[in-house]
């Protein structure tokens, strides 16, 4: 079930990624399993789980791409430009995707979390440490929403 959610989220995103970018979501080793597990226990419709998973996937990949921009890759001109562009592009797609999926509030919340992660990274935290709480923070946010924004656990309907 976890893998299915990740797969479905990536399918949703495929339509948003321009082929010119050469970004392939399913070819990346991203830390998605914890988020997928937590989402499974969340009482929201399956389609929304896939959208949240998609947003998380885009943010993770944006952060990972920019992590690969180091003094070494810069000095060696080793794909530095492409990594910067990938990160910027993925952040733009995250906002576009979230707004198109009518997830304005989720997008603004995730944007704030993303900002805080950047500050932790600037202060010297490792990427893993800076992002450690992100899945739980997303779930906390989903649970704190007004009832109107949630639905039953409708995995069966998917």
């Amino acid at each position: 079930m976890k893998n299915r959610l990740i797969h479905d989220a990536q399918l949703l995103l495929e339509h948003y990624i321009d082929p010119q970018t050469d970004i392939r979501l399913n070819g990346e080793s991203l830390p998605l399993e914890e988020m997928a597990s937590l989402l499974q226990s969340c009482k929201i419709p399956y389609v929304r789980k896939a959208v949240v998973m998609g947003c998380y996937c885009l943010l993770c990949l944006a952060i990972m791409r920019h992590r690969e921009v180091t003094e070494r890759t810069y000095a060696a001109k080793d794909g530095c430009a492409r990594r910067i562009l990938d990160g910027d592009y993925l952040l733009g797609i995250f906002v576009t995707f979230a707004l198109e999926m009518k997830e304005t509030r989720l997008m603004t919340h995730l944007n704030s979390l993303y900002k805080k992660i950047q500050l932790r990274l600037i202060q010297g935290a490792s990427t893993e440490h800076a992002m450690m709480e992100l899945p739980v923070q997303i779930i906390d946010y989903l649970r704190s929403e007004q009832p109107a924004h949630t639905g039953g656990n409708t995995d069966e309907a998917a």
Partner: protein, 387 residues
């Protein structure tokens, strides 16, 4: 008189709001180095072109300061046939430049220039909304410049060390990431409950600007690219953002759809003219005026319009095609001098002038608004600037 003074755009207020974006971030208390870096970027100045475009776009609302009802007058507007503005560039390339695209362009109305004033006194809410939009756009632009400097390996910007040379590359990348996220957070905190479409459009813009940059990377040192490819890249790199700034201002002022569409066309043509002028200046100005080495586009393999024009001359083309990332500074300087001495820059200027005329003609469609004169002032200032 500076451009923003001539146009009565409150740049000092916009700068103050830009500083507030970082100064009011409760999460930034432990990171004075971040706020200092961003305040340094803001205080280093810049043309503030994007904010100016937003504020001017805001003068085309449904009811302007003279009580004009734009929608009603729009219904009476005869309109004009659509223009493929790329035809202006490609017409030059295929030898039909004398009438390239012009016959498809609606006739301009003859108007004299003159500033029309800010006109915000009657609507402080509109002014506040426009300033927020202007700040959002300028933050996106500033962040993209930080990343551009890393991509281009530019050690200076406006004659000062670029951010990554001060903070290191990874930190500069993240400061720019922070700037985009914080600007959106700040914008949404002020517009809670309102339409969030400007942020969505900004996001689409970021993605679109990236596609322009991917294209530039893909075509680095590709001396066989054609005019259409150059124009497409230029549109995605520059013109879309300028058009978006004008229309974002107009949307904030609740302008009617036809006016917004026309402003988009004005911004697109203005952006193309602006970028071509930028390309010309990159070759013709000295290092000190530019604040970076002359010909830095060519040095990074970015083939601009004057270089495309120069490639038509066999002797010059051979020298240009011999350039590579491994070429020496003196080799680049010699080729740049030869391009400047050739008719290439004049030919590029002729294409720029066609975009200026196209923009003028679309501005003519907005002549019922007093602010159309502001667009003319801005257009001529940007497209004929010398620095």
């Amino acid at each position: 008189m500076k451009l923003h003074e001539r146009l009565q755009v409150p740049v000092a207020e916009i700068d103050a709001a830009m500083e507030q974006v970082v100064l009011t971030d409760p999460d930034l208390t432990d990171s004075p180095a971040v706020s200092d870096s961003i305040l340094g970027l803001i205080r280093s100045g810049g043309k503030r072109l994007r904010p100016i475009l937003v504020m001017i776009g805001g003068r085309f609302g449904r009811t302007d300061r003279d009580g004009y009802a734009g929608e009603a007058a729009n219904a009476a507007d005869a309109g004009g046939r659509p223009v493929d503005s790329d035809a202006l560039g490609t017409a030059w390339a295929d030898g039909s430049a004398d009438n390239g695209g012009a016959e498809h362009v609606p006739a301009a109305q003859d108007r004299t220039y003159g500033h029309t004033g800010s006109g915000f006194a009657a609507d402080p809410q509109l002014k506040a909304r426009l300033i927020r939009t202007a700040v959002l756009m300028e933050y996106i632009h500033m962040a993209s410049l930080v990343h551009d400097d890393i991509i281009d390996g530019a050690a200076t910007r406006r004659g000062k060390p670029s951010l990554h040379t001060v903070t290191g590359v990874p930190t500069a990348v993240r400061i720019a990431d922070y700037m985009i996220a914080r600007a959106m957070e700040w914008y949404s905190s002020h517009d809670a409950g309102e339409d969030f479409s400007p942020a969505g459009k900004v996001a689409q813009l970021v993605a679109q600007l990236c596609i322009g940059e991917y294209r530039q990377l893909e075509h680095a040192y590709n001396f066989d690219q054609n005019f259409r490819q150059y124009l497409r890249k230029t549109r995605q790199k520059t013109a879309v953002l300028m058009a978006a700034c004008l229309t974002a201002g107009a949307e904030a002022a609740r302008a009617d759809k036809e006016t917004i569409r026309t402003l988009h066309r004005v911004g697109d043509a203005m952006g193309m003219a602006f970028q071509i002028q930028d390309d010309i200046l990159d070759l013709t100005q000295d290092d000190r005026t530019l604040g970076k080495p002359a010909g830095s586009d060519l040095r990074s393999g970015n083939i601009t319009l004057p270089v495309l024009c120069a490639l038509q001359y066999p002797k010059l083309a051979a020298d240009i095609r011999a350039l590579s990332p491994a070429s020496s500074d003196s080799e680049y300087r010699r080729v740049i001098e030869n391009i400047v001495a050739s008719p290439a820059c004049e030919q590029a200027a002729a294409v720029r002038d066609r975009y200026i005329r196209l923009a003028e003609r679309w501005i003519g469609h907005l002549s019922r608004y007093p602010a159309h004169q502001d667009l003319l002032i801005l257009l001529h200032h940007l497209a004929k600037r010398t620095a």
